[in-house]
């Protein structure tokens, strides 16, 4: 995302506007988290207009200023839409007329908010930082099924799923039919990988499977690259990372992101850190040592007591239309930061975020054990 200009009175009431240019699909997701009901958005959009009374509708490009009523994001299509009423009249569109605009990449977008709080301003800063975004390719597979995913800071996208029936070895017929279809399967996956993954751009490409399938895939990819003289792959072959997962289902990906080898390679990326923190939280919850808690009430109480080490929230809490709820969580985050805790806003498009979402969307890991259940505050 490119930040063009901003006129935000950060000192006073934090109102103002800024202009952005979304550059990739991930930026759309960021915009989805950024734009809220009540904001004013100016953008170029397409509208069907009847130029003459009763005439045929024509598609015209118009520049509209909308008072946002709802935003919508479809992860599978990677499309983000803004619905709202126009607040200015122009040549084709009257004032106070409804319009749904699909946000287009590489087109300027001006957002005006009554208040730029830390979260929304934080999203802008993070999204527009010049640091190269880490994008990771991952293949989670087992004999007969492979999932090709792209993992970015804010989302996990399943690009391809490859399935092939693999016959079992049998004592009468031997194992050759099995060997043949495994080879065929790996070849299919290999071809899909080199077609879908940009070896130059991706930071690493994780190959994960139970058993030896991932290693076999790595060999298949490299063998094919040598055969086809694919210089890009051969040059970046060190990016292929073979790790172990217990399953070839997509859930294996979560496991992989916690693998020490992967963590080492992705040490500074947001999602790897999130996965590790969530893992930490789960371990403490399992030990039942009163350090891990979830639920809005418990979280609020923990923050109030100043005992929070990690505050984990999902981005969906901040997308809430309920301004009070949003303000509440912003206040919690600021409080935690002031007291030296860390705040993580999980993307619900990642597996860990999705899990947190089902766990009420808010959780804390405390610095020391505390019972948040009872009314009296018994600290140890």
């Amino acid at each position: 995302m490119k930040l063009l200009d901003k006129t935000i009175a950060l000192e006073k009431d934090k109102s103002g506007s800024l202009s952005l240019i979304p550059q990739d699909k991930e930026d759309l997701w960021q915009l989805y988290n950024l734009i809220q009901k009540g904001d004013m958005v100016e953008l170029l959009t397409v509208r069907n207009v009847k130029k003459t009374e009763g005439g045929k509708a024509e598609r015209v490009h118009v520049h509209l200023k909308l008072a946002v009523e709802s935003v919508d994001y479809v992860p599978s299509d990677e499309v983000m839409r803004i619905r709202g009423k126009t607040v200015e009249q122009n040549e084709y569109v009257p004032n106070q007329s409804y319009h749904t605009a699909e946000v287009q990449l590489n087109k300027k977008l001006k957002i005006n908010k009554a208040e730029w709080d830390d979260i929304s301003y934080g999203i802008v800063l993070a999204a527009s930082s010049v640091e190269k975004k880490a994008e990771v390719g991952a293949v989670v597979l087992q004999e007969g099924v492979a999932h090709l995913c792209l993992v970015t800071d804010t989302m996990t996208v399943l690009r391809n799923k490859i399935e092939k029936a693999i016959p079992r070895k049998s004592r009468d017929a031997g194992g050759s039919a099995h060997d043949k279809s495994i080879a065929k399967f790996l070849d299919m996956v290999q071809a899909t990988v080199s077609r879908n993954f940009d070896f130059e751009k991706l930071k690493v490409i994780i190959l994960a499977s139970p058993g030896f399938t991932a290693a076999a895939l790595q060999k298949a990819i490299l063998d094919a690259a040598v055969k086809e003289d694919n210089k890009v792959i051969l040059k970046n072959k060190s990016k292929l990372l073979v790790v172990h997962s217990s399953t070839g289902y997509l859930q294996g990906l979560e496991e992989v992101l916690k693998d020490p080898l992967v963590q080492k390679n992705l040490n500074d990326t947001k999602f790897a850190r999130e996965a590790a923190v969530f893992e930490d939280f789960q371990r403490n919850l399992n030990e039942d040592d009163d350090r891990a808690w979830y639920g809005p009430k418990e979280v609020a109480k923990a923050v109030e007591l100043g005992a929070v080490k990690y505050l984990m929230l999902t981005d969906s809490l901040f997308r809430s239309d309920d301004i009070a709820a949003r303000k509440h969580y912003i206040a919690l985050s600021e409080e935690v930061k002031n007291l030296g805790g860390e705040v993580f806003v999980f993307s619900t498009l990642h597996e860990s975020g999705e899990q947190l979402e089902r766990l009420t969307g808010a959780a804390v890991l405390l610095k020391y054990p505390m019972n948040l259940e009872d009314d009296d505050e018994d600290e140890e």
Binding site: R168, K169, G175, S246, Q282, L285
Partner: protein, 698 residues
């Protein structure tokens, strides 16, 4: 075919009728439907048949009456002699009527006159009048097809506009039609002829009668067999016909055959305990494989520096397995001893391949647990991460009651009785503990050496150190184990069960044919029957059935069968949609497809809590699917409502299936095999349970 199936049917129908009554009722109730089916198949084959039937249509009743009023003398007893099934209607006629409602009556009248004419024409010696009739017939036929060829029909079509009043116009048209079409038939001899002809069976009647007789003949031949019952499935597949098994079976003799002992066992245990080698040894010593094959493998194995793996290579046949020296997938094989036929399933011991092992366990009656007795090795396999524990836990969770424990490699411990007893005590303690829950009397310990073969199939008692042991050999022990679940006590019991077969393996033999293998966990299956695949909902006929590589007409509960099917009968004409773990069921099975269900589960030791929303892999029989807990309904001994489960808890939860493919399950109370589930996550078994109730049934 069989009294067997008939009996099953009788049971279905509530046992209310006697055998004779049943057969009568059968033929009486089914015949008409069969005939109407036939008639339907003949639908639209000719204007003649169609038009004739139209006059019988109830909806046309008023018009018929009107017609009679207009033509009192011309066509007496118009409808009386026509005795065709009334439901049949030509689709052609129907379509026409819809297109041109106002002129349709003309046509019907016209066609009626035609239908009366041919018999008279054919019955009499040819006359000039016949020629004329034929001309008129062709004219009318064309006009029926909405192709106005002659002026008459053009006139007919256009005149209607001249009369604003519909009734009036119709009367006018009718008169016109009478004049044109009935001019030659309205004389007495013709009417008499027509009457006579109509009193005889029409050509259609003749055909139907012949078919009826043919069917009765068939039915007599089948004597007391179930008739072909047509069924409408709820899905897109139009008509699924239940088919009869290919071979008639005499129930009593067939069943006596199956009293013949047969058992299946799965070999489980920690990696490198010697499972595959033991299996290879059993196959070699029982004479299932010959020395030549083994010698060849020994040479190959020695060439790659893995001499001790030779026996295991009988089962580890893929390149990957041989080069890595581990079993990856299960391998089932059958062998015979003097008394019994065994189906043995060799399972992988490695942690990563537990899913395959589960698939093996679900096909077996007995678990053969192999433990390495070498000092340090047993302990390694027995600590928490070792597969000795996980495998036995899984076996128990999947419903296995009997465990035979082979204390392997005892020759390396100099056949020490102390070591044997030590391991026995430790294992007994663990296996009978509350967490696992086997009964002590169902555990059988046998000391063996799989590599040398001592005490596996035979014990020659030549080793002085091993003289202390006077129990049975491993095979002897397996032969002695009784499996009450697979024993078929009575025919009634078997017939009352519905078929359950869970697919263990799918192989495409030819492009047009595929084979599946699996264990019949309930009921029976016969070659020639049509069965339903679940969840894909394909209905296919069993082309051939074999048990232990031998063609059989029928297979019953407990047997592992191979079935072949035609790929062309699948909806998508491809086996890609089928998956290991899918079920094969009767057409009217009670098993339901669900996207979520309620289960009561017990959690095992876990590193992390089981949260609401945590994805895990759910196993049922040999099917596996990605799933998550959507709701925790109740935790035993816990007051607080929580959203997570920790180790060693009992809870009632709602489990939802991730993904689009629905999952067939059944309540545990109704179906033991399909009601058990096991939950695994990150390579460890975290919980097991039973299905309590189904939700979101498709």
């Amino acid at each position: 075919m069989s009294k067997l199936a008939l009996l099953a049917k009788q049971r279905l129908e509530g046992k209310s009728k006697g055998l004779a009554g049943l057969s009568l009722a059968d033929s009486a109730t089914r015949l008409p439907s069969k005939l109407s089916l036939l008639a339907k198949s003949r639908e639209g084959k000719g204007i003649l048949g169609g038009a004739l039937n139209v006059s019988d249509k109830p909806s046309l009743g008023p018009k018929l009456i009107k017609k009679k009023g207009v033509l009192p003398t011309s066509v007496p007893k118009v409808a009386a002699p026509i005795e065709l099934p009334s439901v049949v209607e030509s689709s052609q006629t129907r379509r026409r009527r819809r297109i041109r409602p106002s002129s349709s009556e003309n046509r019907e009248k016209g066609s009626e006159s035609i239908s009366k004419d041919p018999p008279s024409a054919t019955a009499q010696e040819p006359s000039p009048m016949d020629e004329l009739l034929r001309v008129l017939l062709t004219v009318e036929t064309r006009s029926l097809q909405n192709k106005p060829i002659c002026e008459t029909s053009v006139a007919l079509l256009s005149t209607k506009r001249a009369y604003p009043n519909v009734e009036e116009s119709q009367n006018k048209l009718r008169k016109l039609a009478d004049n044109i079409f009935l001019a030659f038939t309205n004389n007495d001899p013709n009417i008499a002829k027509a009457k006579a002809n109509f009193n005889r069976p029409s050509p259609d009647d003749k055909v139907l009668e012949a078919q009826k007789q043919a069917f009765e003949l068939d039915l007599k031949k089948l004597s007391l067999k179930e008739g072909t019952v047509e069924k409408r499935s709820g899905t897109a597949t139009p008509v699924i016909t239940e088919t009869k098994p290919f071979v008639k079976l005499d129930l009593a003799t067939e069943l006596s055959k199956y009293v013949q002992p047969h058992k299946s066992f799965v070999v489980i245990g920690h990696v490198d305990a010697g499972k595959s080698t033991l299996m290879g040894r059993i196959l070699y010593d029982t004479g299932t494989v010959d020395a030549k094959t083994v010698n060849k493998l020994v040479r190959e194995a020695e060439k790659s520096g893995k001499g001790s793996f030779a026996l295991a290579w009988l089962l580890d046949q893929t390149t990957e397995e041989r080069s890595r020296g581990v079993t990856i997938d299960i391998c089932s094989t059958t062998f015979k001893t003097d008394n019994i036929i065994f189906t043995a399933i060799d399972a992988p011991g490695h942690k990563d391949f537990v899913p395959q092992m589960i698939s093996g366990v679900s096909q077996a009656d007995i678990a053969l647990l192999v433990v390495d007795s070498i000092n340090g090795e047993f302990e390694a396999g027995f600590v928490m991460d070792g597969q000795t524990k996980e495998h036995t836990l899984l076996a128990k969770s999947l419903g296995i009651e009997q465990v035979c424990i082979a204390i392997n490699k005892l020759d390396k411990e100099d056949w020490s009785q102390a070591r044997f007893e030590d391991i026995k005590t430790q294992l007994t303690l663990f296996l009978t503990s509350k967490d696992v829950g086997f009964h002590e009397e169902k555990l059988h310990f046998v000391p063996i050496s799989g590599l040398s073969g001592t005490n596996v199939v035979k014990n020659d008692r030549s080793t002085p150190e091993f003289a202390w042991y006077n129990g049975p050999t491993l095979i002897g022990c397996l032969e002695d184990i009784k499996i009450p679940e697979s024993h078929i006590s009575s025919l009634d019991e078997l017939l009352s069960e519905e078929l359950n077969l869970s697919i263990g393996e799918i192989v495409e033999i030819l492009s047009s044919e595929f084979r599946v293998q699996g264990k019949v966990s309930l009921g029976m299956i016969q070659a020639g029957e049509t069965v339903r695949f679940n969840p894909t909902n394909d209905c296919l006929q069993v082309q051939a059935l074999s048990v232990q590589a031998k063609g059989e007409p029928v297979a019953v509960r407990g047997q592992i069968v191979q079935l072949s099917f035609k790929t062309g009968q699948l909806k998508n004409k491809s086996i890609d949609d089928l998956a290991v773990g899918d079920l094969i069921l009767n057409l009217e099975s009670a098993v339901r497809l669900v996207s979520s269900f309620e289960a009561s589960i017990v959690t095992f030791h876990m590193d992390k809590p089981l949260l609401v929303g945590t994805p895990f892999v759910l196993f049922r029989n040999n099917a596996s699917v990605s799933a998550r807990i959507s709701k925790i309904i109740l935790i035993a001994n816990s007051k607080r409502k929580k959203m997570h489960l920790v180790s060693q808890q009992e809870a009632k939860v709602e489990i939802e299936i991730v993904g689009d493919r629905l999952f067939p399950v059944a309540e545990f109370s109704k179906n033991k095999a399909l009601g058990r589930v096991v939950l695994r996550k990150e390579g460890a078994t975290i919980a097991a349970g039973t299905v309590q109730s189904l939700q979101n049934v498709a």
